[in-house]
């Protein structure tokens, strides 16, 4: 069965590139630019994985993830942002909300590896994609 990925970002070009990447790999893609769109997409079809930006227009990706986590505690979440976080911050502050952190300056291949790993794993360990 095709696995479904929900990508959340307020920049159209980011969403477009992520769609191209994951569709090429055979994943099904749902996309949202705002928290409202994200919740509507989740209601329409529960995703197997969520990729979200940190800074959304008039919102906060981590706040949105916290809200989603209440309904979907087992769905892995990747934080894809241009904001740099060091490992200590990730471990101490972010790991409760996200499964993995991925900086936007890192190559797509690294993001893809993280996605493959999370979608094929029985458990979803928190990991920094920048380490890969």
């Amino acid at each position: 069965m095709t696995q479904n990925i929900l990508t959340i970002d307020d920049e159209e070009v980011i969403l477009s590139l992520l769609r191209e990447l994951f569709e090429k790999e055979g994943y099904s893609i749902a996309q949202a630019s705002t928290p409202r769109e994200a919740k509507a997409a989740i209601a329409a079809k529960t995703p197997d994985l969520i990729i979200t930006d940190l800074q959304l227009a008039n919102s906060d990706g981590l706040e949105l993830v916290g809200s989603i986590r209440q309904d979907l505690p087992d769905v892995p979440v990747i934080l894809l942002t241009g904001v740099y976080f060091d490992e200590q911050t990730i471990d101490e502050k972010l790991s409760t909300k996200i499964t993995a952190y991925h900086n936007k300056t890192a190559p797509l291949e690294a993001l893809l590896k993280t996605v493959r790993k999370l979608l094929s794993a029985d458990e979803s360990p928190t990991a920094s994609a920048e380490d890969q």
């Binding site: 920049e11 590139l17 990447l21 300056t105 797509l108 291949e109």
Partner: protein
């Protein structure tokens, strides 16, 4: 047209010639055999007519003698009938002998002999009709017995000669049959040989063509395998290129995003910020610095920072070195150095200036200057 095909054509041309020759020979021999059979039948018919004529003459004479002795009219009738048959046989024999002079001569000789016998018979009948018994006795006693023997001898000679001719024809026909049979055997043998040669050529050609087809098939398989391999390589290369292209676009947007993000941070800072080159010329300012100086960025860029920020210089040393220059040269941060900001009206404001050198791979390429009011 290839060599094998030409050879097969040649063999079949020889085969066709041989068969045509055999057919022509066969037809000629059949016609000859037919003519020969006609001649044999004709000769047998001639012999039969000669024999029948002589037999009819003998029957007529016997009936005549019986009639002369018994006076029986039946004998007279038999004699007349026999003479009639004799006449018919002679006519038929003459007709059969018409085409050959020797036969005609033999028939004429026989006819003469039989006419002579018929004349004697007529004379005896005439004497019998007149009742002249003495004349009958005299004629009978004078009848030459050698004449009868000569007739029989003539008959045997004619029959014997024709039987000889038949035997001779038989031998000729036998020899001819042998020749025809041999010709046909040779023809059949030649045909068989040519067919065998053709078969050998065809088999050899087929074998050669099969070998060529197998080589071609192998070559095609190899080519297909190469094409498949090349196609696979191209597909892989295409996938790689697409991935690289996607990665490149991702990097470009990431860079653009990062620049925009950094710019946003600088723009959002409330303190005046100036980015300078290694030569201490302004390359970038934030709105707070624009407000402080009263000029927009285009008027400030590429101007020396010393035009707008005057540092307090410690003149106690032997040399007077600009602290900004010293900071860049030594790659050390300058923190809260006393300075004056000079606005577009040349009005001076006391400030505290800090400079953080910008490093690119351990090489100082410029610096970031921040200002804050001096209390």
């Amino acid at each position: 047209m290839d060599k094998t095909f030409r050879l097969i054509l040649l063999v079949f041309a020889i085969l066709a010639t041989s068969m045509v020759t055999e057919v022509v020979l066969s037809i000629t021999n059949l016609q000859r055999a037919n003519r020969s059979a006609q001649w044999v039948n004709h000769t047998h018919a001639f012999i039969a007519e000669i024999n029948a004529a002589v037999t009819a003459g003998q029957r007529a004479e016997s009936a005549l003698h019986a009639f002369l002795l018994t006076n029986n009219p039946d004998q007279r009738a038999q004699m007349s009938q026999a003479f009639g048959e004799l006449s018919e046989h002679i006519e038929v024999a003459k007709a059969l002998a018409a085409s050959e002079a020797e036969n005609k001569s033999e028939v004429a000789e026989l006819e003469t002999a039989l006419i002579a016998r018929a004349d004697i018979a007529r004379a005896l009948l005439a004497a019998h009709r007149s009742g002249d018994t003495d004349s009958i006795h005299q004629q009978l006693s004078e009848d030459d017995p050698t004449q009868i023997d000569a007739l029989a001898s003539l008959n045997r000679r004619i029959v014997s000669r024709h039987q000889g001719l038949l035997q001779q024809r038989d031998r000729v026909e036998f020899n001819r049959d042998n020749r025809t049979r041999n010709t046909l055997y040779v023809g059949a043998g030649l045909t068989l040989l040519l067919l065998l040669i053709s078969s050998w050529f065809i088999r050899d050609d087929l074998k050669s063509r099969r070998r060529e087809a197998a080589l071609l098939a192998a070559s095609n398989e190899e080519l297909e395998a190469r094409v498949a391999e090349r196609t696979s390589e191209l597909k892989q290369s295409n996938r790689k290129l697409r991935a690289e292209n996607l990665e490149s676009r991702w990097s470009a947007q990431a860079l653009e995003h990062q620049l925009r993000y950094n710019n946003l941070i600088i723009e959002s800072v409330a303190s005046p910020v100036v980015v300078v080159t290694r030569a201490l010329n302004i390359s970038r300012v934030n709105p707070a610095f624009e407000n402080l100086i009263g000029e927009l960025a285009p008027a400030l860029v590429d101007q020396s920072i010393s035009e707008f920020v005057k540092l307090a210089i410690d003149e106690s040393g032997d040399e007077m070195i600009d602290p900004f220059e010293l900071s860049l040269r030594s790659n050390q941060d300058l923190v809260d150095h006393a300075a004056n900001a000079i606005d577009h009206n040349h009005k001076s404001r006391p400030m505290l200036a800090s400079l953080h050198p910008l490093r690119d791979h351990d090489r100082v390429v410029g610096g970031v200057i921040t200002l804050r009011p001096s209390n």
